[in-house]
């Protein structure tokens, strides 16, 4: 599998949803949007606006009723999740509780855990990169919440896929820890240059590392644009209502934002 479509795309691949419609039996969601290649795009919107569904469509956990999901220009709509050139980090349950840190990361290389010398080297490097050196043999329950998400990021590194989907991965962490994790994501992105789709509820998250913003409302893409524009008050009305009047211009973005 490592020789498949995934690793041929070295840097970030373009992700496009071409008139994708999907429904859980209620009002249908319709996505027609293209994400900036090799950039971090924050996907925001009220609860139930379809943020997670959008990621699930890209990852392959949901199949569109009509339309196409294109990654790197290839229609992947019919492909199962593991074949798509995509890594995903969920809010929780990113790890197998009975497997060690090393094994959990190793699964990103081989789903049967048959690892070569090169794989082991890559795993060690990824663990060092995410600040987990020395914790290889620990079980997930012996780690903190932040460390568990670091393991998930280490696995993203060894999988080395051109698209990274983050589904509110740091929502359950405290503010300081969350900032650390965001910086780690930004650093990984600077290094690998994958296309990152980042679902978040927190405007600060989006402001800290997001370059672009896709704003969803009622199952539709309500607005897209540069994060800078969104947070300096030039964003659409619905977005300003969503994040609240004060958050829009109270803090200068140069203070809060970390350059990536």
């Amino acid at each position: 599998m490592r020789d498949g479509a995934a690793s041929r795309l070295e840097k970030g691949a373009p992700v496009r949803l071409d008139k994708v419609s999907f429904s859980y039996g209620e009002a249908p969601l319709v996505f027609d949007v293209e994400f900036a290649t090799a950039k971090i795009t924050a996907i925001m919107g009220p609860s139930g606006s379809g943020k997670s569904t959008l990621l699930n469509l890209v990852a392959g956990f949901e199949t569109p009723q009509s339309g196409r999901v294109l990654i790197g220009g290839v229609d992947v709509s019919a492909e199962p999740p593991s074949v798509r050139p995509v890594s995903m980090v969920f809010q929780e349950n990113n790890l197998f509780a009975h497997l060690s840190v090393e094994q959990n990361v190793g699964l990103g290389r081989s789903p049967s855990l048959r690892l070569t010398e090169a794989d082991h080297a890559a795993i060690a490097e990824a663990l060092a990169r995410t600040g987990l050196a020395g914790k290889e043999r620990r079980l997930p329950r012996e780690l903190s919440g932040g460390e568990r998400q670091r393991v998930a990021l280490a696995r993203v590194l060894v999988r080395n896929r051109p698209v990274l989907l983050l589904d509110e991965p740091f929502a359950s962490l405290g503010p300081a820890l969350r900032d650390d994790m965001l910086d780690l994501v930004a650093a990984v992105h600077a290094e690998r240059g994958m296309t990152v789709l980042f679902v978040t509820h927190q405007p600060e998250d989006a402001r800290r590392i997001g370059e672009h913003i896709v704003f969803l409302d009622n199952g539709l893409v309500a607005a897209t644009g540069k994060a800078d524009d969104f947070f300096t008050g030039a964003g659409p009305e619905a977005f300003r209502r969503y994040i609240g009047a004060s958050a829009g211009h109270a803090v200068s973005r140069d203070v809060a934002r970390k350059r990536t």
Binding site: M1, G4, Y24, G25, A59, G60, F61, E79, P80, P81, S82, V83, V86, S87, M88, F90, N93, N94, L95, F96, A97, H98, L99, L107, G108, P111, S112, L113, L139, P140, R141, L143, R148
Partner: protein, 541 residues
């Protein structure tokens, strides 16, 4: 690499399992139909006054057993629920779980050792009865045995129901100063009444399909049920036409009962888990406490006495000589090997059905359930409709045209018992698998962990314990079974229960008691293991 979806292999496994079960049940029906068509007039002629008497007795003993088990259970359960904390409560509940796994033949022997013509109580009973005590054979013996099995079961089920009453209601009741009587009428009885039809139906169903107890304690043609009739028709009278008629009647009867049961929303499978007592706001006065203590003590005595009698009678046997006997050793080995294989098959089938059901449910999302999903879901529970004797009888009739019926004994014992234990195994495996799948499903899909890899790396570690629980339980059930082996057993293939029956038949009561003790202990050990394995959970991240 295969671009197939990770779910496909699980669904295929479920289909294979369903096909195997269908083959087993379908083969039995084919045998019955073939025989029935072959000798239609004979089957029709089997409807004679004797048959009608058998049907009447089957229903009558089941109705009486149900009444005698369920009515006292209501009050014992209430007594236990009124006292959520006292020394030995958990132990009593555990004891009440023992009959669920104790082989019927062991219990029947225990009851004979107590109330039989030469039983421990024979002297006392003779004095009460004025003269001599004729023993407990017949309807009374059947009733005592059925109550021994079903009173504890019903008690546990009612207790479970009572524990669903929110503690807020109790807090409110105690604040309003509600005494025991109005509390029963206004709070406990509505809950019990809701559970009553389901519990009574379940007990009725178990009594209607009970074979071993009626065979051993029935003691003659006056007290014969359909199941025992089938056995006699095949093994003694060799009257296949009659066996067909009896079997079809048995199926019709159980089908009607199960249909009524599902209408009532009953759970057809018992459970060995202990209900957890919650914090209660109860004040029970002194006289009620005494009454409750008496009730619990009586029920306990009734349940423990046959077990104790089994142990005492068993210790009275010449255990050393028994252990040295080649026949006993051979039967023990046969029993263990067959029960092991049966449990293995049972657990494999259950796991396959569980995985298929989950995979189908995940693929379906919001749509309607397909037939296949229904089959993997509730379909498995319906194997209980077809009692082992019926499946055995069908295959017996089918195979006698082909060759030596008795040569197939091991296969029949293993497969039929595996399928019969399946509903219980499913109850241990399914929740664990579904919970693990809830955590792992997307991760596995994302990382491409499927098929064998998934089974070994992901599912096995989280299912080890529930699988072991299911295995131990299935093995205990299979080990103690006398249904299939009674039909197919012979001198060349004997299991412990079959040997026990043979020793009883030749009036070697001491030997039988010793074997019963051995069998009972092994089953008990397995159940304790199942319970222990089921309780200890692996902590999760």
């Amino acid at each position: 690499m295969a671009p197939a979806h990770s779910t496909d292999s699980r669904v295929s496994a479920g289909i294979v399992a369903l096909a195997a079960i269908a083959l087993l049940i379908g083969g039995a029906f084919a045998g019955l139909l073939f025989e029935g068509v072959h000798d239609f007039s004979g089957a029709w002629a089997a409807f004679d006054p004797y048959l009608l008497r058998v049907i009447r007795f089957t229903l009558w003993q089941a109705a009486l057993s149900t009444l005698l088990s369920v009515a006292p259970a209501l009050f014992v359960a209430r007594a236990l629920s009124r006292h959520p904390r006292f020394f030995g409560r958990a132990f009593i509940l555990q004891l009440f779980a023992v009959p669920l796994a104790l082989p019927a033949i062991v219990a029947a022997l225990g009851i004979l050792a107590l109330y039989g013509r030469a039983g421990y109580f024979a002297g006392v009973l003779a004095v009460i009865g004025g003269g001599s005590w004729p023993g407990i054979y017949g309807l009374s013996g059947i009733l005592v045995a059925h109550v021994f099995f079903n009173l504890p079961l019903a008690t546990r089920l009612f207790l479970e129901a009572l524990q669903t009453i929110p503690s807020d209601q109790w807090r409110l009741a105690s604040q309003l100063g509600m005494a025991a009587r109005p509390a029963f009428r206004l709070i406990e009885w509505p809950t019990l009444r809701a559970a009553l039809p389901g519990v009574a139906g379940l007990v009725f169903m178990l009594c209607i399909t009970s074979f071993t107890i009626v065979l051993i304690l029935g003691g003659g043609p006056a007290a014969t049920t359909l199941e025992v009739g089938i056995y006699q028709a095949l093994r003694f009278d060799f009257d296949p036409a009659r066996a067909v008629t009896l079997t079809l009647l048995q199926i019709a009867l159980t089908f009607i009962v199960v249909l009524a049961l599902t209408r009532l929303g009953a759970n057809v499978v018992g459970d060995t888990n202990l209900p957890v007592a919650q914090r209660r706001y109860l004040s029970v006065n002194r006289s009620e406490t005494w009454l409750n203590a008496m009730l619990i003590a009586l029920a306990l005595l009734f349940v423990v006495a046959p077990m104790a009698a089994t142990v005492m009678a068993g210790l009275g046997a010449d255990l050393g000589r028994l252990a040295g006997e080649a026949t006993v050793r051979q039967a023990t080995l046969t029993s263990v090997v067959l029960a092991f294989l049966s449990a293995l098959l049972s657990v494999t089938l259950s796991l396959a059905l569980t995985m298929a059901r989950r995979a189908l449910a995940l693929n379906r999302r919001a749509g309607r359930k397909t037939m296949l999903e229904h089959a993997t879901d509730t379909g498995a529970g319906f194997v209980l409709v077809v009692p082992p004797i019926v499946v055995g009888a069908g295959w017996f009739l089918l195979l006698r045209h082909v060759g030596d019926v008795f040569a197939i004994a091991p296969v029949m014992v293993v497969t039929v018992n595996a399928v019969m234990a399946m509903p219980f195994a499913l109850r241990a495996v399914r929740p664990a698998y579904d919970a693990a799948s809830e955590r792992h499903e997307r991760l596995c899909a994302q990382l491409g962990i499927a098929g064998w890899n998934r089974l070994m790396l992901v599912d096995w570690p989280s299912l080890r314990r529930p699988l072991a629980t299911a295995f131990a339980f299935a093995m205990a059930l299979s080990l103690g079974d006398l249904g299939v082996i009674a039909l197919f057993g012979s001198d060349s293939v004997q299991t412990l229960p079959y040997l026990l029956l043979a020793r009883m038949g030749s009036y070697r009561t001491e030997d039988a008691a010793g074997l019963a003790l051995l069998l009972g202990l092994v089953c008990l050990a397995l159940i304790v293991a199942a319970h222990w394995l089921g309780r200890e959970k692996v902590r999760d991240a």
